[in-house]
Symmetry: C2
Subunit: 328 residues, 2 copies
């Protein structure tokens, strides 16, 4: 999907190319190895979903006089990808992930030393971009707050490792931090800088939030439905006590086998993890998670329908359906 | 020195207490273990030098009408310590430091996971503080740039690990990143928000920079003069190829023994490191470093003398002499 997603959106694809070039320019750093690592990460496999949603939302109001100039829009779109990349790099340190976007991750290539500073460096690039482009708007504080919320989401996820009592509400807090806040920011910021009304900006905020949640739930489901995903990260998520949604939704089921296995915590073997995955499917966790994803997708689609009519609105609805695997 | 430094400055000591309270308030986070770690780190042993220099510089212009209100000054002073703490936490990950300010470091207490996020979290606290307090002044960009320069200094230090050809100019780049930029920011920002003239702000910038360089050189010298400092961090600096100034100043000396030892890089044993330290002293590295520190201290003192006359100016001269171990 990653490489074909934008084929049907040639105008958007062109703008995403601009974001990619701008990104390469902004992340340049006088440290050859790090430069190589960041450039590779920026050019390999990333779907640029956050910039894409941002760009689509800027086009909601056709020929708006309030739209800021294109260079600014490309810079803001870039800032979203930079923030995303910086959190990915730091997440990889924590997960000890060997791979990122199909390539060797920054931390496994250069060690955690460089990875810590690489993520920090991207935070400063992010702040430069928002300082230069959104400083005199309400979105400066919203950006800064988003970064904080992403971190609090990560910390909350850590706090609830191995917690077999955690609730869906708590999961939502984590998902907000991991994914939804950034989709929400991208959408709201797109509407705002595209010159949309404050009512449309509010709608965009909610749309981005719900798309983000559904997107993360579907990502969680992949761990249980695609054998090729049964790889180190999945294994590590379970072994490090990060429970994804399908598992979380069957924690209350009366299965001694499941709870005995989970009690092993970090000592789970690969066959045991595979058994947990089979149990989660058997107990209906995947189906329940799919239902929840559909609920959030529907919420987003209902709100998209309320947007002012435009080509961008139709593209947005279509992209949301494709991305969130709606068949109708 | 840490605990007695402010005894002779009762007014300053009172303001530093305010900064400490404010710091505890700002770093509060809904994650009990992390909260404990950050609180401990904020209350233990830190000299609060950067806030102290900032506060002294705010008082240069007695009863200036341009001085911003006290709450803002305490917030800005706090932001300097928060930025300092965040870089310390990430540095400890890279150095695998077991101790920080005499206490167990965040990373060795909670693992690198929490330490990565703890540092990131403090970055967001820093940005909140500068957003709330200096957004509409030139110091917003200067703060943001300082954070970037600190990181580039760290990256430059890594780039030159085990580099026996590195120059004093390169060392200065590292020192700027490690220490001097933040002292410079503290001093310049203090003068500016204290309502001083732009000429005085320029002087303050230079004073802070030179104090920072001298301070770091003296810290480097301590590794060679105080047996109690011959501990894990010193050992690690050498073993990880980070050459402090006294060593760097004798790299050109004609000593086969020194170069044979250095060629062992990360395989140096403790006795070998002790031998390197003895050689550095023998070859005059410590003396040369002391001369350089004195040069930068003198530059700072000459500039302090040019400041408008005030009680704060006298205190500043005295503190600089005490801190930088000037005997006259």
């Amino acid at each position: 999907m990653a490489f074909n997603l934008w084929l049907q959106y040639p105008e958007l694809a062109k703008d995403i190319e601009k974001v990619k070039h701008n990104l390469q320019d902004k992340i340049s750093v006088d440290y050859p190895d790090l430069q190589t690592a960041l450039s590779k990460m920026a050019s390999n496999g990333g779907k640029f979903l956050r910039p894409a949603f941002f760009l689509l939302f800027t086009k909601l109001t056709a020929d708006s006089q309030n739209r800021v100039d294109d260079k600014k829009l490309i810079d803001i779109a870039t800032s979203l990808e930079v923030l995303h990349m910086s959190t990915l790099i730091h997440d990889d340190i924590i997960d000890d992930s060997p791979k990122r976007r199909g390539e060797v991750s920054v931390q496994s290539q250069f060690g955690k030393d460089i990875a810590v500073y690489a993520g920090d460096y991207l935070f400063t690039v992010f702040f430069d971009l928002i300082t230069d482009n959104v400083l005199d708007t309400p979105f400066f504080k919203i950006n800064s707050r988003t970064m904080k919320k992403i971190l609090l989401g990560e910390l909350n996820q850590m706090k609830h490792r191995y917690n077999t009592q955690q609730t869906f509400l708590n999961y939502l807090r984590n998902v907000n931090g991991k994914t939804a806040y950034l989709f929400r920011l991208a959408s709201a910021e797109g509407a705002y800088f595209g010159g949309a009304s404050s009512q449309t900006v509010s709608l965009a905020t909610r749309i981005g939030q719900n798309i983000g949640i559904s997107f993360q739930i579907l990502d969680d489901i992949l761990d249980y439905s695609d054998a090729s995903r049964l790889n180190k990260p999945t294994l590590e998520d379970l072994a490090t006590g990060v429970y994804s949604l399908p598992l979380l939704l069957v924690l209350n089921e009366d299965s001694d086998e499941l709870h005995t296995l989970l009690a092993k915590k970090q000592d789970l073997t690969l066959p045991e993890i595979q058994r947990i995955q089979a149990l989660v499917v058997e107990l209906g966790g995947v189906e329940k998670a799919k239902d929840l994803a559909a609920k959030f997708t529907n919420k987003a689609l209902i709100d998209i329908d309320k947007l002012p009519d435009s080509t961008a609105k139709k593209k947005l609805a279509k992209l949301t359906k494709v991305l969130l695997k709606r068949t109708n």
